[in-house]
Symmetry: C2
Subunit: 263 residues, 2 copies
């Protein structure tokens, strides 16, 4: 066993000897990396079977669990944080790790007939994670996935130019009402509300059913009553989701994602 401040490495543990090591690491909320030959059964609202092969099983401090094969950025099986982690010896020779989630009931069972490497990590990590998405990126995300605004919202292709400035997104809702969306990348301030009202007001004279929505990650203090008083709406935008949508959209052209309004 090698030891440094923040890790322990156990090469070639027998499944039997691994029982205490694994349970102890889980109890101490360490990160566990288990490499070995295993098969995996998952039973939940779907079910899956993974035949024998060498994989990396990761059990994190929050008792989430991930099974990684040698390729692919997604784990082949996983369970979210808060699982009950059980270990037992099967037929006296194989190690079974069970990760149980109760709501909804899901069970992930990993059976190891050989462990090559068990590593225990104690990671000190207080680093803040900050994600930045531009207004243009939020706009693209909404165009790629209009349901970020609401179900059955659709973007309309022509960017309408108003005497009061540029509208970020013009679309229609499920009922066919026109919708004007103003996007802010940060916290919504009073200026943004005034700006949106400037777009909505002249158009509301010909169509009183027009809606104005501010799409942004956060509302400033006192902005909600201001929006309400002007009959405008707020839709919280999750920037992490936008980043994922943009990342997954790969090289697609934005114009591929516009939908024309029903005629």
């Amino acid at each position: 066993m090698l030891q440094k401040t923040n890790f322990f490495v156990y090469p070639n543990l027998t499944p039997k000897d691994s029982l205490f090591v694994i349970q102890n690491a889980v109890a101490k909320q360490s990160v566990l990396l288990i490499v070995g030959n295993c098969r995996v059964d998952y039973e939940g609202r779907a079910s899956s079977k993974l035949d024998w092969g060498e994989r990396l099983v990761m059990i994190k401090s929050d008792r989430s669990i991930l099974i990684h094969r040698s390729t692919g950025y997604e784990p082949v099986n996983w369970q979210p944080p808060g699982c009950i982690i059980q270990t037992e010896l099967v037929s006296g020779i194989d190690l079974k790790i069970r990760a149980i989630r109760s709501q909804p009931r899901e069970t992930l069972e990993i059976l190891f007939d050989e462990l090559s490497l068990v590593t225990i990590l104690n990671l000190v990590d207080k680093g803040a994670f900050s994600l930045y998405v531009s207004e243009e990126d939020i706009k693209k995300s909404i165009m790629l996935r209009p349901s970020l605004i609401e179900e059955n919202f659709r973007c309309i292709i022509d960017e309408k130019m108003q005497p009061t400035g540029f509208i970020d997104i013009f679309g229609v809702d499920e009922e066919g009402n026109p919708v004007i969306i103003e996007i802010k990348r940060g916290t919504v301030r009073k200026e943004a509300v005034i700006q949106l009202r400037g777009y909505v007001e002249p158009l509301s004279k010909t169509n009183p059913k027009i809606r104005g929505i501010i799409a942004a990650p956060k509302l400033g203090k006192g902005i909600k009553p201001l929006l309400d008083s002007m009959n405008l709406e707020y839709k919280r935008i999750n920037v992490k989701k936008c980043a994922e949508i943009l990342k997954r959209s790969e090289g697609s052209k934005i114009s591929d994602f516009f939908t024309k309004p029903k005629s």
Copy 2:
């Protein structure tokens, strides 16, 4: 350095010494686990910054890269397979790993000032992965996310009972046309087509715009022309996506996700 058939462990490598080890492992398409104190910058269609902390960086055989913190089942940063992996020494003391994706251009930069553990895994894994989803599960998935059928498809709450049997899903499309969906968990055979026709035909007399769709993971041989001849449609269902939808829906009640048709 510990060595077994399928792994190499390098504790406390200096960043300088790690250069060759890492580049060599990437060239040999091994799986690399790098544990150490690092900060991470991502620049792409969004951008992110992760301050200093101890994390696990995983570079897989296909040159996908994942950065895991001690909690959460999702990596804090990642790049898909096929990245260019570059390593360099910064100021003679820190290790920089850069994972570059060209289309779209995205750069993930990891700067380590200390490496606690570098592990190289050579995983032999030919195990087949099989995912099973029941017809009931596919039905639930479609109800949770009707866009699995097509954009703006909506499920209607009342399960219509027909003299010819039970309709799996009854809904309306974007144009307001009624849609009958027959779900199969496996390959679509002739019997399923006959069954669906049995549901659609009596209703088509009063509404010729009614549509019939078979939703299933796979079409049997010769089924496409049969569907065409009966004016029925096929929508391929990705069972993996269904499993994810079910998993993510957690304890939500299915009835929460029905939408009433526009009146």
